[in-house]
Symmetry: C2
Subunit: 354 residues, 2 copies
């Protein structure tokens, strides 16, 4: 299998380096893994004037899966919008057709104290947010800032979904629910937005093919509340791009250890891009203190979703669990009584546990 | 002063009845308050086939302020979109030009245990969400569900803001911050949506007129996280209609006692509509168990914002604090050791404390 490795900005290179150590173990054990690195985000702009250089996109297209670190750094904030790091991310998602973003929010029992929520509210939390990633107001036309006749400016974006876009993300959510607790909660704002009224109708249709799965609907404002009030009521949550952006970040913060949370972005054939849920954290970049576990767990997800290799997924996942159980902690999740380790130290610990 | 009293659906009538008791006390003490009731929401549909009957809107227009209970009930869920209870709410907001929605999230020390967050994270929480209420994707044209040439349906909504719309809500937020801790956090998604890029630019301009106020910017996904991680970092949060819908509900749930939270929706002359932040709760309607304090505190806000009468605001607010301190609790906020009271019992207790 061929992997495109895109370290990106900020802490991207150091966390990806630890994930590569994990891949090296698998290689040593006989797996045929080819890896090639390429620049993306601010680094892409630095070397090629483009946050998604042509060659990087080509490499990603030709690979079986993509491992991404993170993009973005304050130093690029003044660049024109079209060449800012985020644009590289949005373009690779769209260009590869990665419409299904899976973001688990899972609380490791040993890390319960990292959550700002009371332990009884979050202990055992294990939910999966399925976010549509290539449609909605992120990509809808028309868009832009124009000057009206009155002389004042107007900003405009368009929320748009077609039935087939909703249906395919719906199927992903229901398929995942079948392997979990068979509950899908579809989040919309159908009482106000026609676009999401259609979303709800299509979800109801999709549900007919999954008689074992229980479908519920929730307005996005209520979902934002319920995640705080009783997050364990959810199994799989499926929603559009912008609501998913907001709710998946809220959900991951419930665990208090966002440094532990991986994500997958899949196309129609389960080719995918895998990246930590957290950002590029330029403030701690280069200091070897970042938490590489979300990136390592993203590699685990890669085996599960793109390579259908549950055994390797389990092997990596168990190694991470062992390291956590042994009390090893990077700074972000460290508490009294645990052993503080560096980013590379954590990578080594996972390798040892494998 | 003339008030339009719109009880609405579900628990609306019973909570509004308690707020009216409070107004009656002020009347007995010599204040000239005229009140007139009218139907809105599902009740409006029942009596006049319209969730905002002509006569109700006229009354609201002619009044100095509007007191609203809540709208919505499952039994109206199958009605055509145009006559559903929510439409009445959206139309009265737009029709009266109530562009500034103020939603405080405040934690009463005695109710800290109602929060799902750890006490140290939320104790002393006191933030104000200023949500734009008559623009954005709620009202933007074009909108609707159409059939494409391919035969499949497409749902569409439009996010739209003009400079002047952003400027006026910005000024409201900064004015409020001047009377609080002089911090405004403007929430947008400027890295993806041009509409909110313009929003950010205008906020920066508005800030120039308020040199004492510190302006910061936050992406909406990060704001959803930060509200869970460290909500006390915020003083005033200003944002658009849809992001404000989501974040204000999330913020109110942080307190765990949404039955305590009032809201105000103001026009350019501080004429306003006042209503509890919570909904119509049809499941407990008519049982005399709802918490009327959010509605009573909405009356307090009415005196502060529409009638510039800080003394009456304080009088009502203090009465509520006294009742809470005395251990009186409706079912939603009751804990061991407190005295459980009914909806009307709570209204009577506030009246007695005044
Ligand atoms: C960086 C940004 C464009 C991106 C998004 O909004 O999708 C990020 O917030 C995410 O969730 O991956
Ligand atoms: C009922 C609904 C239309 C309304 C809104 O979305 O504005 C409600 O959620 C609110 O926040 O007042």
């Amino acid at each position: 299998m061929k992997l495109a490795v895109l370290p990106g900005d900020g802490i991207g290179p150091e966390i990806v380096a630890q994930a590569v150590k994990v891949l090296d173990v698998l290689r040593r054990d006989g797996m045929k893994i080819e890896m090639e690195e390429a620049p993306i985000g601010g680094v892409g702009y630095d070397v090629a004037g483009d946050p998604l250089p042509e060659a990087t996109f080509k490499l990603a297209q030709e690979s079986d899966a993509v491992l991404l670190g993170a993009v973005g750094d304050w130093k690029y904030d003044t660049l024109p919008r079209d060449v800012r790091p985020e644009r590289g991310l949005l373009r690779i998602r769209k260009g590869l057709g990665l419409f299904a973003n899976l973001r688990p929010a899972l609380l490791y029992p040993e890390l319960a104290s990292a959550s700002t929520l009371r332990p009884e509210i979050v202990s055992g939390l294990d939910l999966m947010i399925v976010r549509e990633l290539t449609g909605d107001i992120y990509f809808g036309q028309p868009r832009g800032i124009t000057t009206l006749e009155s002389g004042e400016r107007e900003g405009l974006n368009t929320m748009r979904y077609t039935e087939s876009e909703v249906r395919r993300i719906g199927r992903v959510a229901f398929d995942i629910a079948m392997k979990r607790n068979k509950k899908v909660c579809s989040v919309d704002k159908a009482n106000v937005l026609e676009c999401t009224e259609m979303w709800r109708q299509v979800m109801i249709e999709v549900a007919k093919d999954y008689p074992e799965v229980e479908l519920s609907h929730m307005y996005v404002d209520n979902a934002a509340m319920q995640l705080v009030r009783a997050p364990k009521q959810f199994d799989v949550v499926v929603t559009g791009n912008i609501f998913g952006d907001i709710l998946s970040d809220e959900a991951s913060m419930l665990t208090g250890s966002i440094g532990m949370l991986p994500s997958a972005s899949l196309d129609a054939n389960n080719k995918g891009m895998y990246e930590p849920s957290h950002g590029s954290a330029p403030d701690i970049a280069g200091k070897d203190v970042a938490n590489p576990l979300a990136t390592i767990l993203s590699v685990a997800m890669m085996f599960k979703y793109s390579f259908n290799d549950e055994a390797t997924y389990q092997r990596i996942d168990n190694a991470v669990k062992k390291v956590i159980a042994a009390g090893k902690r990077t700074a972000d999740i460290w508490t009294e009584g645990c052993t503080k380790v560096s980013c590379s130290g954590m990578g080594d610990a996972v390798v040892a546990a494998m």
